[in-house]
Amino acid sequence: MSLKEPLFEDQRIRFTPFDYEKDPQIESRWSHNPAYLRMLGADIARPLTPDQVKKNYEEIEKEVDEKRTLFYFAIRTHGKKADEEERLIGFARLYWIEWSNGTANIQLGIGDPGDWRQGYGGEALRMLLRFAFDELNLFRLMAVIPEYNQSAIHLFARAGFSEEVRRRQALHRDGRRWDMLHLGILRQEWQAQQKSLRTSPAETQVA
């Protein structure tokens, strides 16, 4: 990697701040889909009005600015082609950052089922890992994922995370119990992976 390589842009998506005009409508729509909310974690599914979403944005930005224990990005498609608009598709965040230990939790969400399984999550995760390890200089990350969210588990495993904790029966959904999984990745594991990916001589030269 190099200083010139953009941190907030990949091939099809970019990390951006909130758009207080447009985003709340879209996120309010996502919040009416319990399948989406339940994939994210243990919270109680609850639909939100655009105003409630806007209030959440304000609280998130306040925490980012004042406490520095959270970094949060809105994920958007580029909209580079003439027939394609820039479009909000999800969020990416690092939360519960402990600076003295160099640790944080990591989470992604792609809101619209039409955007699932399109490779956006993989791109977003790649960018967020680079931000965590090369910009924040963290030491390790943890993803907390319900056992029933197999696509997220595979996504994080492909990116180099391994299962570290299995909190038995910590979730109760539709009459049955599921485990809560914690997946972790160390900085050195991520770095080793970057090295093995870096095959072209041009790129090694930059590093």
Binding site: A42, I44, E98, S100, N101, G102, T103, F139, R140, M142, E163, E164, V165, R166, R167, R168, Q169, A170, L171, H172, R177, H182, G184, L186
Partner: protein, 185 residues
């Protein structure tokens, strides 16, 4: 029904009195070893005033999912620590638990284990939870043994989570299910 819910063999759990607990808390916070066994964040010293404000704010903000108690000895009613169920998730019946004995002379004598037994009974028999979770640091052998004695099982380790004195240590996750707890009674 007439089980003394808040009483064990060595200790009892009493209501948090912010002023009293804050005074002890401030004194305990000056014991850096205590801090490092209790909290993953940087050890720091806190005044009684600041401790009280923090306590009151926390109790107020988490009224529905935090159940915190002071630990007092049965023998002479001395305040020796605190214990709390923190972040109760009512929809799943899960909670985390935290315990700290600030008074060092009561370490390794069964007071913590006794307090843990009392609060587990409260979690399962009063709150009717399905499981209880906790975190313990790899270097805190005494706590790990005590939790195992109370019935907790290791559910995994966040590798090298803690950085202390130039070493990295795991953050151990433990849990106990209602059925495991019931069987042990």
């Amino acid at each position: 029904m007439d089980t003394p819910l808040f009483q064990g063999e060595l200790v009892r759990l009493t209501a948090v009195e912010p002023q009293k607990l804050a005074e002890s808390f401030s004194r305990w916070s000056r014991d850096s070893e205590y801090w490092r066994l209790l909290d993953s964040g940087p050890a720091f010293v806190y005044s009684p005033q600041r401790s009280k404000e923090w306590l009151e704010k926390m109790l107020q903000e988490n009224e529905h999912n935090l159940f915190m108690f002071m630990i007092r000895t049965l023998e002479d009613d001395r305040l020796i620590g605190e214990v709390g169920l923190d972040g109760v998730q009512w929809n799943h019946g899960d909670t985390f638990i935290g315990i700290g004995l600030g008074e060092r002379e009561f370490w390794g004598k069964g007071y913590g284990t006794d307090a843990m037994r009392v609060i587990l009974r409260y979690a399962f028999n009063e709150l009717n939870l399905h499981r209880v979770s906790l975190n313990v640091f790899e270097y805190n052998r005494r706590a790990l043994r005590s939790y195992e004695k109370t019935g907790f099982k290791v559910e995994g380790r966040a590798r090298k989570f803690l950085s202390r004195e130039g070493n990295r240590w795991d953050l151990i996750f433990m849990g106990i299910l209602r059925e495991e707890w019931e069987k042990a009674q």
